[in-house]
Homo-oligomer: 249 residues x 2
Amino acid sequence: MDSPVGFIGEPADGLLRKLRVRDQISREEEAVIRGVIAEVRVVKAGQIIVPAEMPVSISTLLCDGLVCRYKDLGSGRRQIMDIHVAGDFVDLHAFLLGKLEHNVAAITDCRLAIVPHKALRAITETHPHLARFLWFVTLVDAAVLREQILSIGRRNALQRIAHLLCELEARLQVVGLAEGGRYRLPLTQSDVADATGLTSVHVNRTLRTLRDRGLATFRSGEVTIHDQPGLRQVAEFDPGYLYIGRRPI
Amino acid sequence: MDSPVGFIGEPADGLLRKLRVRDQISREEEAVIRGVIAEVRVVKAGQIIVPAEMPVSISTLLCDGLVCRYKDLGSGRRQIMDIHVAGDFVDLHAFLLGKLEHNVAAITDCRLAIVPHKALRAITETHPHLARFLWFVTLVDAAVLREQILSIGRRNALQRIAHLLCELEARLQVVGLAEGGRYRLPLTQSDVADATGLTSVHVNRTLRTLRDRGLATFRSGEVTIHDQPGLRQVAEFDPGYLYIGRRPI
DNA sequence: CGCTCCTTTGACAGTAATCAACAATTGTGG
DNA sequence: CCACAATTGTTGATTACTGTCAAAGGAGCG
């Protein structure tokens, strides 16, 4: 079984870390955030956390593990839209949408913090700054989706995979889960294919090319970036779209 | 020059229409929305409305015309992430992000309503329901982006273009700009290529196939859907991701 | 009326998909 | 703890979808 991708800490630690690289969070706000967590659950790898089209009244904060959002199409085609790491809300969009049009599934065993929509709604009524913050993280989600569109639409296989590895490194770094160009990524090549709009066979060949060129290695659930500048150049990766950096929200 | 794609009315009419298919808007809220519009501007086709990376302190509501968000990559590659129609905020995401990582450009001549971020911020402080509504429309933007990822990642050229035509019909219908399977769409085939991750040559061939199969015609800036069920089936189009339909927000 | 942009078409190239088989790894149960 | 099953990874041969290059015909504009 995969060891959890994440740190063991208070459920909201990852989220707070993610927020604090963007703006200040007061002690009182921190308490509010910690307070909205109704419960912590554990799910097994492969389990569906939020099925498409099911009305939901809670949102889920990922404490550790890896989660993806995906849609299925006819004849076995599957597309992963986004991969979530510790500190991400995996279904905050459902707070106002009421349901999701895609599935959310655990890639690895995960620890999840449950936040009732009622509590989120209360935040929008009484804590506008926190509400904007929550809105903000959904906007960063959208920015990641736009970059994903660019990737799949206009980058070739090598660039797409390189880009994915660069993005995950940057996002994992924010929550302290990547250092020295190494991080755990317990995806199968088939998962990578679904995330990049390729086939697993082609992913396999492309990963070999990345290795042969001395750019990065992805093997047994672990990524090692050998040459970050080189990899970023190949991918045309610019982390600006992650909106990391302080700015009043 | 293209005639404007839209209706002539009060600047906020399109937005209100879009909101009211989702939830109730009180008279007082309607007044607030109309009140935040500081000014109405007109831009010419092709003009960049919001350049990437430029700090912004206003957001832009599209009254009529067609707008796109896009990013450029090396060697002339361009990807359109989203096309906006009357009633859409074209850069509401910048309210909290502070800037955008992509460009926003007018495809046709446009009428734009300008909303200062200060006014939006005030709404988050004093009108939580409206604030959630604004948040909601950015979440629908994200849902459209996810569907776009699915399209480009897993649908072939015919399906992608069919899907684009289905989506735009559904979105234009909300604001009353498509009826009887016909609507104005003053895009070049090159624009369609950039929106679907294809080349203009291939778009041209694929449009011919759509025509030959009696599904839809796209010619001189106008779309005619001859066989909606057929087109939707080809595209595997399901409008659920547009979250049209009433639900308290 | 000449120019520019857009559309259309053909020939050819190339990236990635498909099909198929086998190796390696991980998991399971006796 | 070993043997078998299942999943995942690897590689080769072939196909096909889409891209690239090139050129000509239309349409709109000044």
